[in-house]
Assembly symmetry: C2
Homo-oligomer: 197 residues x 2
């Protein structure tokens, strides 16, 4: 079959997280049979994002303006910085509505195995921001993984000189979780941090 372009698109789609070769082929077919409703809008949406979205030079969020709309929002608390590994973590916190300060996207975690050192992350920028008024608290919202917690330790050390308070997200049972299916570490953390109603 002369379907070079079809195979090419299937391979491009299969590179997306969550889409394997099989679902990529299904997606190609869906696109080809819904040209006006799906294929053309997607082409335009990709071109739009490619043209208009940039990384914020202050916090490394992805936004259509630089500094990003969170960094310039005077309604947000500039005295608290929330440090996240990735932009996706920032989006999740924004969806939760649980945080109204500003962010700092690290760009990953320190990882000896992965060859990620301090210079590969935005640690210098974070320390500089934390040292400047009016920042008084830095929340380390890193993943509860070995790399995430190692990185949190290192950041706590680096931030000590700035004099700001450094806090971390609580560990415990996620809402809706069942005790019987929780791992030992989570249960231990939940018992240790138990609270009185």
């Amino acid at each position: 079959m002369s379907r070079r372009s079809i195979d090419h698109l299937a391979r491009a789609l299969a590179r997306l997280p969550g889409l394997g070769p099989r679902s990529a082929r299904r997606a190609v077919l869906y696109l080809l049979t819904h040209r006006e409703a799906v294929l053309r809008p997607m082409m335009e949406a990709l071109a739009d994002v490619e043209r208009s979205v940039r990384a914020c030079s202050v916090c490394h969020n992805l936004d259509e303006q630089d500094p990003c709309s969170i960094c310039v929002d005077q309604g947000r608390d500039a005295s608290v910085l929330c440090v996240v590994e990735q932009v996706g973590d920032l989006w999740a916190l924004e969806r939760s509505g649980a945080f109204a300060g500003r962010y700092h996207v690290l760009g990953g975690t320190l990882s000896a195995l992965g060859g990620v050192g301090p210079d590969d992350l935005t640690i210098e920028g974070l320390v500089a921001r934390a040292a400047a008024p009016p920042v008084r608290e830095v929340i380390l919202a890193l993943n509860a993984t070995v790399d995430g917690q190692t990185t949190a330790h290192v950041l706590t050390d680096r931030l000590a000189a700035t004099g700001v308070g450094v806090t971390r997200l609580a560990h415990g049972m996620p809402l809706g979780a069942e005790v019987g299916t929780m791992d030992d570490g989570t249960l231990a953390a939940a018992v240790k941090s138990r609270y009185t109603l």
Copy 2:
């Protein structure tokens, strides 16, 4: 946040089969953080497919030429037509290498509930092709669903006047399947069509 374009792309991606809102957001992030390697190639692949892929006017396959490369391939057996519901079914049969004749894509199945009547499918075209030499067999490779089998019955009736032989795909255990997990209908079909080694 001024992320209209980001939300727009996430909604466009979430329309693809296999991607929900959550995985669409992950895909957007992946695209934005892999612009050269993933986002731009995908834009080009979509534009390429949109420009070059058309439905074959003979068999309704999707291809870069019309009639499609299967219809014009002199190395294939023009005396056997394989009827499939969708182009994806044709692709699956081509990957299997099990069929070397020509195809006819119905465009779906008859469905009283779904409001799909004979005029919504390419039945007239199929009957005309089946009636013309050198066609001597039509294989109905429709889904083993109620609608698929109902449609197979209707097609068998419609094709009777053409005098061609009409066959269907065998029913039975898929390779690798376990007897204990098979549904009753499949087991009954497999027993009924049992064969001697």
